[in-house]
C-alpha cells in the first residue's frame, strides 16, 4: 500500500531585539560569560514585574504580515506552569488564548510543484535558560531566559521532508531579510508533528511529535526515520503506534520515546494578570506596515530586474544588513547591479583576505556611495576606487580626504600622465627603439613603467593612447 506523510510544524524563532521581552537586559548574544545578561526580573526574583518590550510586538506583527496572517488587534499573555531549574519563575509567559497572528499562508515551490502551507498562528513567548552539566553539579545560565521568541505553528499541510526543509529555508531568508531574526545556529528550533495514512484517506493516523531540533539536516533525517517507523508499524505490525513525544538522536539517526499522552504534564495555562492586554490600533499597525521591508519574493524580483545574478540575489536576500546597504546606496543614485558588485565582490574580497565575511562588514552607506561616485564621475579610475575602499573598510577613513591625501585623483590629470610617460621614454631608450623598429609588443614595457610610476592609479586606456601618440 502507498502511504501519505502528514506533517505539521512548530517553529521557534529568536527575535533580533536589543533587549529581552520583559526587562531591559541585553539579549543573550550580548553575553560573554554565563549569567552576564541577568537582572532581578529575568531571574525571577520576588517583587519584579514583567514590562512588555514594544519592539517584540512589532517584529511579531511584521512576521505575521510576511506570512499573510490576520493581525489580532487584541492580544494577551498566559502563563504555562512547569518546574525546571532553567525556568526561574517556574512558569513561562506565552500566548494561548489570544495569539498575535492567526490564519496565515505561505507558498512553497518544490519539485512536486507549488504548494500552500497554512499558518495556524504565530505567538510571542519568552525563552528559558540553559543548564550546563559538569562533574558533581549542574549549573544554571540565565542569559537566555526571557529572550523573545515567536512560535510559528502550521496546519498539518506538509507531505514530505523536502517541503519542510523548503519551508524552513524560506522562513530563514524572510526573517533575515526582514530584520526579524538572524536565524543563527540554535536561534531557530522546530517541533515536528508527524503521522502517516494510506494514500487517499481523509483521516489522520496516530501522531507523534519530535521535539526541539535546530539543524535542517537533522530535521530531514528525523522525518525520514519517523515516517518509515510509522509505515513499518502499519504495514508489518512491528509495533503499536501511540501518541507520544519523541526526541531525535543525531548519532544513531533514530527517534526515541520521551513521554506519552498519559504521562504528559498538565501545564495549567491561565492568563497573566501582570501584563495588560495589548491593543494594536490602526495607527500602530500602519506604522509597522510602513516599516516592513519588501517581501522576499518582491525584493528578489526587483534585484533580478536590475540585472543582478541569482547567486548574488541569494547572498543579498539572506543578509538583511547587506541588502539594506545596497538598497541605501541605490536610493542615493548608484546603479543596483554595479552597487551589488562593489559590495559582494570588492568588499567581500577585502574582508576575505583577513579571514572575515560580509557579516563583519562595517561601512556606512554614505562612505561607500562617496567611493562609487568618484569612480562613476570619472574623478578616479576603478583601481584607485578599490584602494580607497580598502582603506575605508579596514581603517574607516574618510574616502574623499584619503583620495586627496594619497594624490589618487591627480593621477588622472593628462599633464601629470604626460610627464610620467616622458620620464618612461627617457629611461627606456631600448624599448623605444624596439617599438619604433616594429616590435609592437615592446610598448608593454613602457606601459608597465608608467603604471608603476602612477602606483596603478591611472586610467590604462588613457595612458595607452597618450603613449602611442608620443611614440609616433
Amino acid at each position: 500500500m502507498n502511504y501519505e506523510l502528514v506533517i505539521g510544524l512548530e517553529t521557534h524563532v529568536e527575535l533580533s531585539t536589543e533587549s529581552k521581552i520583559f526587562c531591559s537586559c541585553g539579549g543573550h548574544s550580548a553575553a560573554k560569560e554565563p549569567n552576564d545578561c541577568v537582572c532581578p526580573a529575568c531571574s525571577g526574583m520576588p517583587g519584579m514585574l514583567p514590562v512588555m518590550n514594544k519592539h517584540v510586538v512589532e517584529l511579531a506583527v511584521t512576521a505575521g504580515l510576511m506570512l499573510n496572517c490576520d493581525i489580532n488587534r487584541y492580544t494577551t499573555f498566559d502563563k504555562k506552569n512547569y518546574y525546571y531549574p532553567d525556568l526561574p519563575c517556574a512558569y513561562q509567559i506565552t500566548q494561548l488564548n489570544h495569539p498575535i497572528c492567526t490564519n496565515g499562508c505561505v507558498t512553497l515551490k518544490t519539485s512536486a510543484g507549488t504548494r500552500d502551507i497554512r499558518i495556524k498562528q504565530i505567538h510571542m513567548e519568552e525563552d528559558a535558560g540553559k543548564l550546563v552539566h559538569g562533574g558533581k553539579y549542574s549549573y544554571v545560565d540565565f542569559n537566555r531566559t526571557s529572550v523573545p521568541l515567536i512560535e510559528i505553528v502550521t496546519q498539518p499541510d506538509f507531505r514530505s521532508a523536502e517541503e519542510v526543509v523548503t519551508y524552513l529555508n524560506k522562513l530563514k531568508s524572510m526573517f533575515r531579510s526582514g530584520g526579524i531574526s538572524e536565524c543563527e545556529e540554535g536561534a531557530m528550533r522546530c517541533d515536528v508533528n508527524i503521522s502517516v495514512r494510506p494514500e487517499g484517506s481523509e483521516e489522520f493516523g496516530v501522531r507523534t511529535e519530535i521535539k526541539n531540533m535546530s539543524s535542517f539536516e537533522a530535521i530531514e533525517k528525523a522525518i525520514r526515520y519517523e515516517a518509515q517507523r510509522h509505515i513499518d508499524a502499519l504495514e508489518f505490525e512491528t509495533e503499536e503506534l501511540v501518541q507520544e513525544t519523541r526526541r531525535f538522536d543525531d548519532a544513531s539517526g533514530k527517534t526515541f520515546a520521551m513521554r506519552n499522552k498519559e504521562t504528559e504534564a498538565d501545564y495549567r495555562y491561565f492568563p497573566d494578570a501582570n501584563l495588560m492586554p495589548i491593543i494594536i490600533d490602526d495607527e500602530w499597525l500602519e506604522e509597522i506596515k510602513a516599516n516592513k521591508p519588501a517581501a522576499v519574493d518582491e525584493k528578489a524580483e526587483n534585484y533580478r530586474l536590475a540585472g543582478i545574478s541569482d547567486k548574488e540575489i541569494d547572498m543579498l536576500i539572506s543578509n538583511h544588513k547587506i541588502s539594506k546597504l545596497l538598497d541605501d546606496i541605490v536610493a542615493m543614485g548608484v546603479n543596483a547591479k554595479d552597487g551589488a558588485s562593489w559590495i559582494l565582490t570588492d568588499c567581500a574580497g577585502i574582508l576575505r583576505k583577513d579571514g572575515k565575511t560580509l557579516n563583519d562588514l562595517v561601512i556606512t552607506a554614505e562612505k561607500l556611495y562617496a567611493v562609487i561616485k568618484m569612480v562613476d564621475n570619472g574623478d578616479i579610475n576603478r583601481n584607485a576606487g578599490k584602494k580607497i575602499l580598502i582603506a575605508v573598510v579596514e581603517q574607516d577613513v574618510d574616502p574623499v580626504a584619503f583620495c586627496k591625501e594619497q594624490g589618487l585623483d591627480k593621477k588622472f590629470d593628462v599633464s601629470a600622465i604626460e610627464a610620467v610617460i616622458d620620464k618612461a621614454i627617457a629611461e627606456n631608450p631600448q624599448s623605444v627603439a624596439d617599438y619604433k623598429s616594429g616590435k609592437v609588443k615592446a610598448i608593454q614595457a613602457l606601459f608597465g613603467a608608467c603604471m608603476k610610476e602612477l602606483k596603478g592609479a591611472g586610467d590604462p586606456a588613457v595612458i595607452k593612447t597618450l603613449l602611442e601618440e608620443k611614440l609616433k
Binding site: G47, F270, A273
Partner: protein
Amino acid sequence: MNYYKTKIGNGNIAVDDTILVKDAEAAAGSKMLTGFKPLFSAEAVTRLENKGYQIAGKTNVGEFGLDLLGEFSYGAEADGVLKGAAAEAVANGEVKAALAVDMNGSARRAAAVSGVDFLKPTYGTVSRYGVISCAASGEQIGVYAKNANGIKDIMDVIAGHDEKDGTSLRNESYDYSFTAVSGKKVAIIKELSEKADAETKARINAFADSLRASGVTVEEISFDVFDTANTAWQILMTAETCNNISRYDGVKFGHRAKEYKNIDELYVNSRTEGFNFLTKAVIMYGSDVLSKNRYEACYDKSLKVRRVLAEKFEELIKQYDAILTPASSKTAYEAYNIHEAFGKVFNESAFTALANLIGIPALVCSGVQLMGKHFSEGLLLGLADAVERKGE
C-alpha cells in the same frame, strides 16, 4: 508585641514583610524565603523615602498574607488574642503610618480589630513593583494610619503611575481631598450585617448614626453578591498565588532542604519544609482549579463572575455613593489550629473579597468598612473623617 521581623531604623513608617526594602531581609512571613535580601526597594517605599519619610522596619505578616491577621508568621506565631503587627504598631503610636499588601483581607481585618484606619485603594493606583506578589490581579498596597488625614498624607505620596508595573494606571497623580458628605447616600448591606456578631452590628449602627448626623442618608438594602464574589476571588487568588510562589523552589535563594537525591526531591523537600499548612492548602486548591478538567468550570467562570459583578456594582453605585459593611464577622479573634485556617479565612473573606475581585477602594474605619466605585477614595475618606471628627 514584637512588631518587627526586621528592624531598620528609627523611622516613622512601618512596612509589612511582603513589601521590599533594599538590603533588608524580606521573607513574607515564610520560612521558604529565609535570608532573602532584595536588591531594590518597592516603588512605594522609594517614593516615601524621597519625601523624607524613614522606614522603621518590616512588620511581621502571616505567610504570604494568606491568614486572618498575621497569626501564622514564621518564627512569630501568635497565641491568645490575635492582632496584626503593622496595625498594632500604628495603634500604639510606634509609627505614624504603615504600608501593607491587601490581598485576601488580612490587612482590613487587622485594622478593624486594632481600631485603626486602613485604605485599600483602587487597583492600579499604587505600584506593585517590589511587592512579593501572590494574587496579581487583585492585590494592592494599602495604608494604615490613625485617621483619614493620616491616610491621605501617605496616599498623596505613593499613588501615581509607575512604568515598572504594567498594571499601573496611567494617571500621574490622584486627588485624595475629602469630598463634602452632606446629601450623600450610603447603603448598609443586609446580607453582610447578618453574618456579623452583635458587637459588630452595633458598630455599624453607631457609624450610620454618626453619618446621619453629618447629613448623610443611610439605609439598609439587599445586595446579595458577596458570597459569589468571595468564591470567585478565592479561586482566582489561590490559583494566582499557587503560580506566583512556585518560583520558591530551593534552587536560587531562600530555604533549601538539606536532604535530597535529585532535582525533584530538592523541589519537594524544600517546599515541604518551607511552606506552612495553610500555604500548602492554597497551593492544592489553586492547582486544582487550574487543572485541565476544572479550568473552565472554576477559573474561567470566576473571570466571568468578576465582569458580571463589576457591572452589578456599577448599577448599585448609581443609586448610592458608598456601601457600609462589617470588615469581619467579629471584633476579636482567638488563636486557633492552622488546620482550620483555610476554612476560617474563606468565611471571613466574604466581607473583603469583592473589593479585591473588582478592584474598588475599601476603607476600614472605626471597625467598619466603606466601599465605593473606582477612584472614590476622596468620598470614602470624607465619610470617615466626618465620623472621626464627631468622635473627638
